[in-house]
Point group: C2
Chain length 383, copies 2
């Protein structure tokens, strides 16, 4: 029996040693996983976080990489989700033409060849005429109203509905605030001065100008400065003081006209491929949604802060002449804008559906903001 | 030797069994933690998430629980961080007087007896006169400008600086937009009509009214309706159409005056105890910051969307008479407001420091928004 015992003990010890090794290995694997998942973490390793799948997204944009203002939202979004997810959702931002051309962003996200994109909905109006309402339309909602309409007026639901067939989920991802009417080398004193005006103005604004007798031309951003300098065009719109000053338009244009009737509160978009979004766990989905909301807010904050000082510099340092478009010009442009909405609505049921909702919200906003925001702007100038 | 061997084997077996139990227990604890941590999770358990410490915060507010508009930001903040953190940061919201009185919020967060609070900075002006600039001041910045100033004009840095001695980190946590001037049972046709006016109007607005010959009275919200009905007061300010309609002021007041000169863009605050914030890992800190930013945006969106339809209902259904304060009244109120700023700045160096920064940003905003947002509001009414 002692001999038998002698034979059994080592076997039990080996068995136990084996079990110990296995269990210890399991523990070690668990711990090791946490270091992989938290490769870019800023502190939660000490909390013992572990074993999270890492999602890597490519985000393509319609702007050049790191473009001031417009391009900052994609970078902010990437940083926000990285910081909040401890690196579980990594979003690599590509500028226009790095992965796909600027106007290839929508298709790339739709097909799933990339997971996300940043741009402006009105770029896709050839595909979806109603998309214009989700950026900005002539005489439409300003930034505060756009945000209100999207979140509380049914705008986001409509936006999701019209993008659904393309496998894309849209989020508001920035706002420029009301833009300037643009840089002109011809004085606009009456509606007559619009006739023959050669102006770089894209989208619906361009259609309106054409109806008023002008010529809307399409020129890439990189060629605008020279086109203004050489007189190829008489005028161009861009964004507002912050971007325009950096561009140097004050060197090649005589007059800086306001207000930006054609883009009163341009919303940018963050678009996400549906399958890519649905593949995320719910916490990362929440981060995507809230990071886009913070990026949306941040861009308007940046423009609000920086347009202020840029306008001051344009006027005080560069002697820029700031002019207001005359009332009759604005009234005519508004009339033609409304004609275009009605005509398009009659042809396109989706456009009509979005237009009706947008217009009803706009009428209420107009009534309320007349006695609130607008009345306040006027009141604080009281002497 | 066989005897010795017989004696040693059981000891080794016991030792190994013990080690196995300990290692197995460690593994089990790790796994168990993950289920505790993810008690409210929405899916990341399947990702294998585990062992995260759960932080439980109490958030006290200066509003009644679930108060429409003002109270929604705290609830949204709580939901946002819970969703994004998978329940690792749980924020329980308490209405006024549930844990501490409304005006005890700041002290409770400062002392660390609770981790967070939601209210308005100007409630603490007795302690910190400069705090008024972080909510709203008469003839000051509107919502868009407040957000721009805080994020890109140095506002947030100053806010953190003045709250630092109190162990509190502030974040913008909502905005009402410009408010209405209030409900009146006396017509205001000239500055003479301000004399003897008994109005419920707190803060700096009340000081301004007093200087203009009125009597600023302090009445709790719950007693306002009766005070207006019985003529104890001639007028009261509240918020704007959405909140005011729900309150029923249209039943006890003749005139609804605009614009809200005294609160042109009231920012609410989310305040966090410094140690509580610093105890969080970096990812949860990022969530707190970005959730507050999203909540900040959401409140303005909600007011923008809901004030619209509420004004329509007040006018069309209840026949509310909407009136504008006359120019000379606005000019006088503005003059007295500026006097108060200058006098307080002369006495309080911190007030002076914040005022100078705020004022400089305000002057630039005034110049830019005159040709942008204000000019646009006017332009779109063109006929």
């Amino acid at each position: 029996m002692t001999t038998q015992t002698k034979n059994i003990y080592p076997a039990i010890i080996l068995l136990l040693l084996g079990a110990l090794v296995i269990v210890f290995a399991m523990l070690a694997m668990d711990r090791a996983d946490s270091y992989v998942a938290n490769g870019e973490s800023h502190g939660s390793q000490s909390e013992g976080g572990k074993t999270h799948k890492v999602y890597e997204w490519s985000l393509v944009t319609t702007w050049p990489k790191d473009f001031p203002g417009l391009g900052s939202a994609a970078n902010n979004f990437s940083r926000y989700v990285n910081d909040m997810s401890n690196g579980r959702l990594k979003v690599k931002v590509f500028g226009a033409n790095e992965l796909v051309p600027a106007l290839g962003v929508f298709d790339a996200v739709s097909s799933g060849s990339v997971q996300a994109g940043h741009g402006a909905a009105y770029y896709w109006k050839g595909k979806i005429p109603a998309s214009v309402f989700f950026t900005s339309v002539p005489f439409g909602l300003n930034a505060q109203e756009m945000n209100g309409w999207l979140a509380y007026g049914g705008g986001n639901e409509l936006w999701r509905e019209i993008y659904a067939p393309f496998n894309i989920i849209p989020f508001a991802g920035g706002n420029t605030g009301v833009q300037m009417a643009g840089w002109f080398n011809r004085e606009i004193n009456s509606v007559e001065d619009l006739k023959g005006l050669k102006m770089r103005i894209p989208g619906l604004g361009g259609e309106v100008l054409t109806r008023a007798g002008g010529t809307a031309v399409s020129i890439p951003g990189g060629e605008l400065y020279t086109a203004m300098q050489t007189g190829v065009i008489d005028a161009t719109e861009w964004v507002g003081p912050y971007n325009d000053l950096a561009f140097g338009f004050q060197q090649v244009a005589k007059y800086y006209y306001y207000p930006g009737w054609h883009e009163p509160g341009s919303t940018l978009e963050l678009i996400v491929n549906k399958e890519a979004f649905e593949a995320l766990p719910a916490d990362l989905q929440a981060m995507v949604e809230l990071a886009s909301r913070a990026a949306n807010q941040d861009m308007l904050d940046e423009y609000t802060g920086r347009n202020n000082s840029a306008l001051e510099e344009l006027v005080n340092t560069h002697g820029t002449q700031v002019r207001r478009l005359p009332d009759d010009v604005l009234a005519l442009l508004k009339k033609y804008s409304e004609e275009i909405y009605e005509e398009t609505a009659a042809k396109d049921p989706t456009f009509n559906k979005v237009y009706k909702n947008y217009k009803a919200f706009g009428e209420q906003s107009k009534a309320y903001h007349l006695i609130s925001e607008e009345a306040y702007y006027k009141a604080r100038r009281a002497n």
